[in-house]
Every structure is written in C-alpha cells, then in structure tokens.
Symmetry: C2
Subunit: 509 residues, 2 copies
C-alpha cells in the first residue's frame, strides 16, 4: 500500500471517540489533524493561484444535492470527515482570492490565520485573568497601540473587543446613554426624556439598529444629509439638533463615519466634534472600516479630530486584514463600560481571588463568554510591525489611485464620485455603460443601467473569475462598489477586473 492508501485505511477505521481526547490513540489523532492541514494548505495554495476560480456557482437547490449536509444517526469515520472538509472548501467561495473584491473584509492574512488556529486550540474564554492570563494582558497591550493611534492617553482609556462593528456601535450608544442617564440601566426609558441621536444618511445601518435595540427607537435616530462626496453636512447636523430640542427631544449622541460602507467617505470629524461640544452630545466615531488609516502617517489626516471622540469603533478585521471577527469599541474615559454593563454576578466574578481582579474583564461586557479575538491580531501586528502597516496601507491607497485613473481613462466607465482629491479611500464606485446604451436618453439609460450591474455580476459568478459588489443609492441606479483591501492585490488584478467587466458587459443581450 502507498503511504496515502495507508493513511486512508487508518482513518477509515477510526471514529472520533477513538482518538484524543476520549482515547489515547496519538497516531490516529496526529494523522487526522495532519490530513486536515494538508487539505487547508492545498486550499491556500490554490486560492492564491490566479488561474483558479473563485467559486463554482450553484443555486441553493442544486447545492443541496452536491453535498450531504445532514446530521447522521451513526458516527462518520475520520476519512469521511476529511473528505467533507475538501467538499466544503471546493463548493465555497474563495474570499481570500486576490480577485475577490466583493466585501470590505477581503483577503487571508496567513499569520492572522495561524493565530486563529492557535486560538482554536487554546479554546479559552476571555472573562477572567484566571483562565486567560496571557490573552487578557495581550488585549491591554494591543489596545494601548490602538488608543495611542487614536490619540488618547492610554492610562485613562478603556475598550472591549466585540463580535463585530454593529455590536461595538451598540456598546458605544449604550455607554453614552448610561453616562447621561445612569438610572436608565435600572429603570429603563420610561421616566427619562425622549432621547434622540444622529448619524449620516450614508452611515452603517447598525447605528439605527442600536437605537432600535436599546429602546430609543429607530425613528429617533435621525439621518443627516451628506454632500456630493458622501460626507455628513455639519450645518445640517446642527440644524437638526436645534430642531429636535425645540420639539422637546433630548439629543445625546452623534455618530461620524470614518470610511463609509459604500463610498468610503470620511465625515468632517473636527466640525462635528465642535457641534457635539457646543450641544453636549456624546461624540462617537464609527471607524470600523477607516480606523486602519490611523496607522499611516500619510493618510491619518483624514481622521483628524478623532481624538476628541468619546468612543470609537475600529474593526481590525477590515483594513488591517485580521481574520473575522476582530472589532474593538474604544472609550476615551475608563470606568464607564464597567458601570454600564456590570450586573454584580458575584458567582462568576469573585472578588476573593489570589490575584488582582481588576484584570478580569467579564463585568465590562454585554457578552458573558467572550471569544478570544485578540491573538490573531497581535500575532499579525507583530509580523508587520508599525512600519509594515504603514507600507501596506499606503500601497493599497496607491492601488486605489491607479484603479481610479484606469476607470477614468477607459471607455464606458463612469465614476460616481469624482473630484480632484478623489479617491479618498479604498472604495471606488462606478458604472459600466455598455456601448449599445451609451447614446440613450437619460431616463431610458437610467432604467437600463439599473439592470446592467446585476447582470455583469451574475456573469462574473457564472465564470467564477472575479467578484465585486453593487448596489443602488437613493438617487442612482445600481453601480459597482470596488473595494481594495486585500494585501494580495496587484495592478494586474485591477486591470483584469476592468477587462472582465467590459467583456461581460459588451456580451449582454
């Protein structure tokens, strides 16, 4: 028998309870894990091969016939599990492929991935120093770098890693409410004034969602208009605050977006900070996407004023490229998170431990158990250093400039936002207008354009060669939103996308 056949035979005759931890069979354990690693390494290699497809698209009903997703009555043997892993990866979408431009979180940083493998193996919970001593200290160390990047005094700042930016934004709004009306924690919203908050119409929907969840109400989260570049108009914000006050509402929270989801716009932080100070509002910056720009001295100015924020959401799983999920909610002032969220669960967070319990973080979280999201970030950050991030982010901005230039000079492409200093960030929004509709009347062109991007996208998915997102906005028909955040991207990949869009676009009926 060949070595491969021997391995197959070994695993085919084993089930899970016959390896560690239920049995002492180390040979079987090692062989199983090594085979899984081989599957993963092959996937990684293929994913980085530009000649390989990003996906094989199948509709849900077909997909269900290609893989057995059912939970069986009897255990499946280890060989079958290895094969299942191969199938799952084969039928999935290679989100780390250098030509997958579909999401803000793209790419697969292999050091961060190695970190996540270790996190899985260590499998610990982040609530106490007792069970996660190194990781708890690591959170503090990593956050210190983040606080410094924001421009805060690390001795006074606070923060928590949250499961995604939406929950991070919810943490911020909850803390803001608590600071203003601490009694609401105990007595709810009934006896306090009617609160309201503000965010730009181009901000992430999680701000409105937080307002709904917290019992403030989605309709009391007001959308402030943006200018033609997608930036919040400060005058409109102040006018709305004044109007709300006149109507008897109590404005308490304003959110600026630093790197908006669709356009990648940065709201004018300094001017909004002035307004928040004038009207005594909590100033939150949702830098989930744009926070990484703080690590580039060349581009940091786009977030000038962020140090005046009371809270900042910053997702290292976006621009910094950490694996999903890695999201931080940072606070300028220490103490509030604890006051706001602690529920005196003495049975979990005892005070009579043999070490300094101020290191226990459980009582600061809305979550009880909390996944270790810091290790994959820490290891990756060590692997790049401050210098490496600076280079990486500047390189991505260079690519963004290159792509914008290519879009401008290629026939049929039209930028959504265009001015001298554009692109400001790594989102590039554009239409492709196929030759045959270029000379239509505006109304008809608009109607036709609405259907072009979805058709081109469907063509990409059928071919499996590349993926890029699209959406309409309040005034424009469907357009593409290109995101350049994968560190693997080259100019050739950008040229490829343009060529592919033209090719599919011109072949449409």
């Amino acid at each position: 028998m060949s070595a491969a056949d021997e391995s197959d035979a070994l695993l085919e005759n084993l089930i899970a309870k016959e390896i560690l931890p239920q049995s002492g069979n180390w040979e079987g354990t090692e062989e199983f894990l090594n085979r899984i690693v081989q599957v993963l390494l092959k996937y990684i290699k293929d994913q980085n091969d530009r000649d390989q497809k990003i996906l094989e698209f199948h509709h849900p009903d077909k997909m269900q016939m290609l893989i057995d997703l059912s939970i069986p009555e009897k255990p499946e043997n280890l060989l079958k599990l290895v094969k299942s892993c191969e199938d799952v990866l084969r039928l999935g979408v290679r989100t780390g492929h250098p030509r997958f431009f579909n999401q803000i979180s793209c790419g697969l940083d292999l050091v961060s991935m190695a970190g996540e493998w270790l996190t899985a193996t260590a499998n610990t919970n982040m609530f106490t120093y007792e069970i996660a001593p190194v990781f708890i200290l690591m959170e503090k160390s990593v956050m210190t770098r983040m606080w410094e990047a924001v421009g805060w005094d690390p001795e006074k700042a606070d923060g928590i890693f949250a499961p995604g930016g939406a929950i991070a934004n919810l943490y911020a709004m909850n803390a803001a409410r608590h600071q203003l009306w601490p009694r609401s924690k105990h007595l709810g919203m009934k006896d306090i004034p009617t609160l309201c908050c503000f965010t730009s119409e181009d901000s992430h929907y999680s701000i409105k969602s937080a307002s709904a969840v917290l019992g403030i109400g989605a309709d009391y989260c007001f959308n402030i208009p943006t200018d033609k570049n997608g930036k919040m108009i400060p005058e409109a914000l102040e006018a709305k605050i004044i109007e709300c006050k006149k109507e008897g509402l109590t404005p308490f929270f304003a959110c600026c977006t630093a790197g908006s989801t669709v356009y990648g716009a940065f709201d004018p932080l300094e001017r909004v900070a002035n307004i928040c100070e004038r009207h005594k509002l909590w100033f939150h910056v949702d830098a989930a996407w744009g926070g990484g720009m703080l690590l580039s001295p060349e581009h940091r100015y786009k977030l000038a004023g962020i140090e005046r924020a009371n809270s900042v959401t910053w997702n290292p799983h976006k621009l910094m490229g950490a694996l999903l999920q890695c999201s931080a909610c940072l606070f300028r002032q220490d103490g509030l998170l604890f006051q706001c969220n602690q529920m005196s669960a003495d049975y979990l967070f005892q005070q009579d431990k043999p070490y300094d319990v101020s290191f226990d973080t459980g009582d600061k979280a809305i979550q009880c158990g909390r996944h270790n999201d810091v290790f994959k970030l820490w290891l990756m950050w060590k692997s790049k250093g401050m210098e490496g991030y600076r280079q990486q982010i500047n390189k991505l901005m260079d690519l963004s400039n290159y792509f914008t230039r290519r879009i401008k000079e290629t026939e049929g492409f039209e930028l959504i936002i265009e001015n001298v200093s554009w692109p400001e960030f790594l989102n590039i929004c554009f239409w492709y207008v196929p030759a045959k509709i270029r000379n239509l009347e505006p109304a008809e062109m608009r109607a036709r354009l609405e259907k072009i991007a979805p058709k081109i996208k469907a063509g990409m998915m059928q071919r499996g060669t590349t993926m890029v997102g699209y959406q309409p906005d309040k005034q424009r028909p469907n357009f593409f939103r290109m995101i350049i955040s994968n560190q693997a991207i080259t100019r050739e990949d950008l040229d490829f996308l343009i060529k592919e869009i033209v090719d599919i676009g011109e072949s449409l009926e």
Copy 2:
C-alpha cells in the same frame, strides 16, 4: 545542518510579506504553517497527558516580564512568531486538560477544533448565500436537528447563531418585545406601557442585562425565588405577575432556566408554560447549558415542556463540546427575527440577485458581519452522530452520579443540594470542611468556611494540578462548583480531584 536547524534558518530570514499572499514563496509559507501546526500538535498531546500541569500560575506583573506582548516598530521574523506561539501556549491555562473542571465549557474536541481551523482558513462572513453558500445551508441543516430536538416543526421555526448565550438571550427578549409592541422598534419605549419580565434568582445574569440594554431596565426584570433545589417556584412567579399587573406594569416575558449556572437546576417548564399561556407572556427557555440534554432520550424528560417555548437559547459550546463560541437562539415561529431586526439596508442585501435571496440571513441579525459558528458544530456532530451524543451525555451523567456518591462517602465533604434524585445534572456543589474546623460552632464554622474554598483553589493553581470553580450564594459561604462536561474525564480524574482537595485542605494553616 539538521532539518530542524534548516527550518529555523529559513524562517529566521523571512518576514510576513515575503510569504503568501504578498509574495509567491510557497516553500516559506508551507514551512511556517507546518511549524505552527507542530507547536499546536505538541500542545494537544501534552494537554492530554495527565502528568502535565494545567498551568504555571504567575501574577499579572510577573507574567508581563515573562513574555514580550508589545507591538514592535519593525516586523518580527517568522521564526520569532513561531516561538511566540510556543510561549503563549506555555504560559496559558490548558482549558482542555482532563482535570480542568473550572468552567461549564471545558475540554477540547479535536474534530470541532479541526472545523475551526477550516473556518479560519475559509474566513467568510455569514450574511449572504452569495459569499457563504455552503455554510448558510449548513446552518439550516444543523438548526433543523436542533428544532427537532426541541420538538418544533422545522418548517415553521427560525433561529440564528449568536456570539454567546448572553446575546442569544438578548435576541429573544428583543423579539418578544417586538411581537407585543412592534412600534417600539421605531418609536422606542416612551409611549408604550411599562414592560416587565421575570426570571429565577438563580438564572444567568444576562437576562437582567438584556433588560437593561433593551431599555426596559434591570429593575423591571424581577427575580423569582427558587426552591431548595434551585428551581424556580411557579406559584411565586404567578403571584409576582399578578402583583405587577396590579401595579400597572405590563408583564411580557418569562425566562425558565434549563441547567442553571451554579446548581445545574432545571426549572419546571410545563408549569411555567401554563402560567405564560394564562397571562399571555412570551415563554423563553435559557437552555444555554442544559440544551444538550435534549440529545439523550434517557434524560430529555428534565426539559419536558420546552416545545411550548417561544424561544430557546442553546449553546453547543457548552454540553455538546463545540469550540467557543457556538450559541443558538431558536424561535418557534418563523418571520419575527426578520421583522424585528431588519433595517432595510438595501445597499448590503440587494433583492435583484441571481438566486433566491430568502437564503440571505444578514437582515435577521443584530450583527452585520457574523462569524461562521456552524462549521465546527456540524463537523463534530457528523463525527459523533445522534448516537454518539446520546452515549456521551449519558456517560457524563454516570460520572456525575459517581462523583456525587464519592462526595457523600468521603469524610469532610458536604453536598449543597442533596436529595434522592440528585444529581440532576453535571454541576455538583459542595464544601470541603477540613478536620480542624469540623467541630466548631455553626457561626464560626461559616466564617471559616468562607475562606477555605478560595485557599484550596489558590493551592490548586500554585500546584497547577487541577482547577475547579467556587462561589458563595445568598445564604451560603463559598463552596465549590464541580462541572463534569469534558468528554475526556474518567473516574480516576474525579478521584484525583477529591484526593487533591483533601490534601490541600488539610495542609492549610
């Protein structure tokens, strides 16, 4: 040079940007990842060796001197990263060690771990079928098994994987509010009646926390007394509901705990369901810990009535042994999650896609990006089958019986809850009373006992041999809470713990 030296030399001369995905150096990439895997395999092997310690305890200030947690200016080479991984694991707590009894989530299932490694490598987000086709269908398949286990019609049920039980409970309470007062989503809590909810005094603090976060107020979440076995007293619940109504409050939500955190008690679900029906309350079951018992036909009766719940929290990362985090919030009725949480983010969840968009889950979640928590559960469940879980859970209950018997017959140990049918679950709470204080007056004994468990625990951590949690309750001084959830546990491990407690307890000053 030896092979090991060659490997070291190769990695010492490489930094992250010189391997995939930024560079095409496959040899370096493979070597780095293989070295990481070697570190992890060694850790797994050692962790399962009972002669190895669970931890080397160091106070925070000392720990900070043993490992360099800082983020550097320059990149660190790949060899240094491998060494860092070794250090982090060496200084951490081996939560998968068969003698770590400290948390409800214990043990390291290696199939689930392999699943989490793959999840990291696939690194995708769960919001749409477009980017996570297999995993989205897998969620449905796994949830179908969970809905069936609860006793619901899978055609009508709904659910979502949440980052931990606390957020799952928050999902449930939010949906309950929405069903009763859908306008609160838009208009907040100001114009609706004063809501109140109920949970037992031994329930998890996240129920109260959800009430605070949602703007209902922690004080409007009433604690219902429990009987001597830690179970909610239904008569007390109904009396409190009636009292609240008289005071002009609007009761809307009652939570039963199935497997309480400290005592492992199961509330009387049928009787509470009757009360909820009578008073038209949403009936939630927090089975975060106890949900796994549904998979044992022999023990399922302890959750009889769960099929009458409107929502159920069930954490496969607890009794089922999935890696952290894996938590489901299940709903009997489809549709509500979507109504409650969707924010019409057309720019993310487009309707004009080339496939059936009802498979997209993004709009049901409070989170936007959502980690893939299903794969590690699915692969593990395949590896055991329904049959394997039945055996595993029954085996743990046998061990729980064994341990209880040993505690009863060993001098100096005293059970907190004791009756004929005990233990009901996998928590065993007890004191150890050292010989020298056994004959003290009750008041003095109590005062001394308060300090015994912390001292014994500190002794265990110094020795590094075992770990078990302790806490006081409202009427009792500190006692140990033993948890038998790690599938690796044997009777010898339980005997070891008893011997260790006696040994440390008798050596105390």
